[in-house]
Amino acid sequence: MTIEIKVPSAGESVSEATVSRIIKESGSFVKTDEEIVELETDKVNQVIYSPGEGKLNLTVKVEDVVTIGQVIGHIDTEAKGEPEAAPSPTPQKEKKPQEPKALPPMEPKTEKESARSMPEDFVKAVQEPPKAEAPKPAPEAPPPSLAPKATEEIPHTTRRRMTGLRKTIAAKLVEAKNQTAMLTTFNEVDMTQIMEIRKREQEAFMKRNGVKLGFMSFFIKAAVAALKEFPDINSFIVGDEIVTFQSYDVCIAVSTEKGLMVPVIKGCDEKSFGQIEQDIGEFAKKAREGRITIDDMRGGSFTITNGGVFGSMLSTPILNPPQSAILGMHTIVKRPVVVQDQVVIRPIMYLALSYDHRIVDGREAIQFLVHMKGNLEEPTRMLIDL
């Protein structure tokens, strides 16, 4: 018997993927659930596991673009042979291609999809060509482009293809910059109390939750408290309407080998410090293993990014659309500060809040950050929902 290996769905908007890595070579023997191929979509990387045990016959190679549902190979369960056998002596190229393009008949996209293109449709297509073709109003004098052409040879350089993830990040960041009225407000936090609590309770917390008490849970909790106070920051714009989240799902920017990923910690208002730290730990592990899925990154109403782990003193984070605000954490530095008219040494972190001025006014953004500052400097306030 042969079992087909199909490209699984990778989420609603994903229709194709690129083969990024062949984990098991064609011709080798695989066990059920063994990793065979890694696919890269514009959102996430995905490993395909063997649907059965037997001899693997793959019909795709690295860089091939595959569609959801496409058969990319077979497992021959009849073929006997020692697992990890030497690759078959037949050169791979002579193998018959297994109709890589043969797709199973698909369900109609929608019941309303018309099979009849009437003369009126033809007229429309000719008179209103797709926007991409519409001539753009030419700038008076097109500025000479300093960027080299894609095909141009540039000395002393190397080239590599942008991955789908990189392209998505690039597109999303430009979109965030171009389609919002983004600006940043700053403040500083005295981290003395948080550091004391962490020191004092670390052992007990670890014992109870199995994870370390980090800074992030404090910041998430403080952010939730501030979001409750300023719901416009927990909102986004759709057309002419402002949509406000009733949930507090906080995205955490995680740097991975493949690039930046932003998994979501859902329902942060209802989670304990321990649960939040556990979630963060789980995502960190998934990120290291490249297992973060599209579902892990769906949704989210507010984002926190911590450039401090790399030593950043101060930065202006960029929005994570369609969200309206993002908090930047930075490195903690001992600084001389004035407390009760005395110059004292305190551990200080600068905070940055970038926000979409279309929906959030300066006053709210500043007050939001001041609210967070208050709760972070005196975490006990959060006990009584301040």
Binding site: P105, M106, E107, P108, K109, E111, K112, E113, S114, A115, R116, S117, M118, P119, F122, V123, A125, V126, Q127, P129
Partner: protein, 460 residues
């Protein structure tokens, strides 16, 4: 006996039988109900027999009129009308059997009899009920008759009778100078009839481009056909020897005498006895069965195609729709570009058209550019002596997209395929003009017409 089919097609014309074969190819259990011989109007009393007679009569006409130009002289050429007719019958019978063979090969059940809808899943044929998950209505059309001119298919005939006359009439009156009229009128004109047309509209073949229609009329008149345009038949006297048609042409009152009258004023959907009312499909007063973009009637599992739905009443249009419906039922995504359905008149010369006429393009808001090229300066036409006619291309002045291709001339039916592809793929006039065409061919006239759109034909 009760049997459940995935697809049951009512009607075996070019819409129905093609739908049935395509459905069977896609693995659906399929049946096709037909009360007459397989093949519908097209095969039995339409396209096929008329083309057989057109060709036979054209050969005879060429013998008498054109061969001497080539230095070939034939003395006392004669034709045997009975043999022409039996040759035609032979062709039809061959095709009847051909469809039967295709049904067997594709395992399409051929159910003989009249299909009547009983409920959305049941069709009754001669007292037997058949269950079907999907039903395709493909019952075609029939000629429209005039109330004061009862058809007997012997002296007052529709296209059906005109294809089976016992003898060549001395005088043939044709009411309606549309495609069917000019084709059958041509047949009998070539065989010696005096053929007179009475057309209500001010031009012949009214769907044609104005320039083409005028050019075509001139050519037909040179062959001996007589046209009375803007003329309305108001009454008839059917005598023992002859039939008189009383006609109003503006203020003028005319009367015409003929041995046979062909009534070819159009066709209408054939829906009588189908049982639409049993399943709740509104029977349209006059026009077509309403369908959506997926050929579904108001009952989602009952589909309708061909002459009973809107669009030109053409065999190939029905066939495309038949394929599309079968594929829709099988879950595929077919697509029909209705702009790119060609229309052909098989006279000599032939007339073929696709897309918009100049007037239609203007009425759709286009700023129009046109290009024409006459066959009289085409090298191949000159060689064969078939120099009548022209090519006309209509294009959008803004985008240069070809909107219509119109041809009068020898083999127009074959040359038009290029125009159909151009419309289907939204080709620009300049792209067609820059495409290599074999020399010497008639198709070079299409290239030249495309060049003329841009004001720079080479051979003119």
């Amino acid at each position: 006996m009760t049997d459940t089919f995935d697809v049951l097609v009512i009607g075996s014309g070019p819409g129905g039988y093609v739908a049935a074969i395509r459905a069977a190819q896609l693995g659906l259990k399929t049946a096709c109900v037909e009360k007459g011989p397989l093949g519908g109007t097209c095969l039995n009393v339409g396209c096929i027999p008329s083309k057989a007679l057109l060709h036979s009569s054209e050969l005879y006409y060429t013998l008498n009129h054109h061969l001497s130009d080539h230095g070939i002289h034939v003395e006392k050429a004669a034709f045997d009308f009975d043999q022409m007719m039996s040759r035609k019958r032979g062709i039809v019978t061959d095709f009847n059997q051909g469809i039967g063979f295709l049904f067997k090969k594709n395992k399409v059940a051929h159910i003989k009899g009249t299909g009547v809808l009983k409920d959305p899943q049941t069709v009754e044929v001669e007292g037997t009920s058949y269950k079907a998950k999907n039903i395709i209505l493909a019952t075609g059309s029939k000629p429209i008759e005039l109330p004061f001119l009862p058809v007997d298919e012997k002296r007052v005939v529709t296209s059906t009778g005109a294809l089976s006359l016992q003898q060549v009439p001395k005088r043939l009156l044709v009411i309606g100078a549309g495609v069917i009229g000019v084709e059958l009128g041509s047949v009998y004109n070539r065989l010696g009839s005096k053929v007179t047309f009475i057309e209500f509209l001010p031009k012949i073949c009214p769907t044609m481009d104005e320039a083409i229609s005028k050019n075509f009329q001139k050519i037909l008149e040179s062959q001996g056909l007589t046209f009375h345009l803007s003329s309305k038949v108001i009454s008839s006297d059917i005598g023992a020897e002859m039939i008189t048609l009383n006609v109003e042409k503006g203020e003028e009152k005319l009367s015409f005498e003929g041995d046979v009258v062909l009534c070819s004023i159009g066709r209408k959907p054939y829906l009588e006895g189908l049982g639409l009312e049993n399943v709740g499909i509104q029977k349209p007063e006059k026009g077509f069965v309403p369908i959506n973009g997926r050929f579904q009637t108001s009952i989602p599992n009952i589909y309708a195609i061909g002459d009973i739905v809107d669009g030109p009443m053409l065999a190939h249009k029905a066939s495309e729709e038949g394929v599309a419906v079968a594929e829709i039922i099988a879950g595929l995504h077919p697509h029909i570009e209705y702009m790119a359905i060609p229309n052909v008149v098989y006279t000599d010369p032939e007339v073929a058209a696709v897309g918009f006429t100049e007037a239609e393009a203007k009425s759709h808001g286009f700023e129009v550019k046109t290009g024409t090229f006459p066959f009289k300066t085409n090298s191949r036409a000159k060689c064969t002596g078939q120099v009548e006619g022209m090519v006309k291309i209509v294009s959008d002045a803004k985008t240069d997209t070809i909107l219509g291709v119109h041809i009068v001339g020898a083999h127009a039916s074959e040359i038009i395929a290029e125009g159909v592809l151009a419309i289907e793929k939204k080709v620009k006039a300049l792209e067609l003009a820059n495409t290599s065409h074999a020399h010497p061919t008639l198709s070079e006239a299409v290239k030249e017409a495309a060049l003329d759109v841009h004001g720079r034909p080479i051979h003119r």
